[in-house]
Amino acid sequence: MASALINVPKKARRGDIIEIKTLMSHIMETGYRHTAAGQVVPRDIITSFTCRYNGEEIFRADLFPAIAANPFFTFFTTATESGKFDFEWIGDNGFSETVSATIVVE
């Protein structure tokens, strides 16, 4: 079961630049490793991460096997209005997780 850690400020003043931190637990298997028997371990990674602020996309990332296990991202946005952040991770083998967080902008 996948789980995510999200760090969004609960409150901000209008126009403030806020920092958002996200971490999703995921093995990020590269597809380049072998078992002791010599078989390739199939790739299993998150391929896409998106953050939307009241429905509008503010940050998106394409992930490759070179992203470390449990993908962690820090990025910024300008606090414009109170509302909701929606985070979405999409990956191999039908992996799909969404988490949301709310913010109050004064």
Binding site: E56, I58, P65, A66, F75
Partner: protein
């Protein structure tokens, strides 16, 4: 001197040596085929096309000496205003010697406020990392960083 004992010892060492050589032979490296500076250049071309890349404006914060290539903290920031008319559109990060030349593509916009992204990456070898930023006016800016990796990622066996 007791000659017979010495020769026995020498014979034993010779035997041990040949046994060691035979023992070593079946060990074959399972290292995957690595990307090369050429494949990195090709990957960069597929992302940015034939546009000219200038040096500057981008900053790549990554430790120059990495002990564990499985998780390397990396921060990319771009010196640029973030307004509705002038902003950073995207940041692309590439490597030279991992099995794949891409590390990540990050898409920002005028609402980001600050053009800065942090994440953790994997590095399979000591190599050069390159970050390219695309600005809203279409110009491309890049920076490179050399990283020395002690313990490589991706190559260990799964037990």
């Amino acid at each position: 001197m007791r000659k017979s004992e010495g020769s026995t010892r020498r014979r034993f060492l010779e035997f041990a040596g040949s046994a060691a050589v035979i023992g070593v032979v079946p060990v074959v490296s399972l290292r995957p085929v690595a990307a090369t500076p050429d494949t990195m250049a090709a990957a960069i071309r597929t992302v940015i096309g034939s546009a000219v890349v200038q040096t500057g404006k981008v900053k790549l914060d990554i430790p120059p000496l990495v002990e564990n290539g499985n998780t390397v903290p990396m921060t990319v920031s771009v010196t640029s205003p973030m307004t509705a008319n002038e902003y950073v559109k995207s940041i692309h990060v590439f490597n030279e010697k991992n099995p794949q030349p891409n590390i990540g593509n990050f898409y920002l916009g005028p609402r980001a406020g600050r053009a800065q992204v942090s994440t953790r990456i994997r590095l399979a070898d000591s190599q050069k990392i390159m970050a390219i930023a695309r600005l809203s006016d279409g110009s491309l800016w890049s920076v490179t960083a050399e990283v020395v990796v002690t313990l490589a990622a991706c190559t260990e066996e799964v037990i």
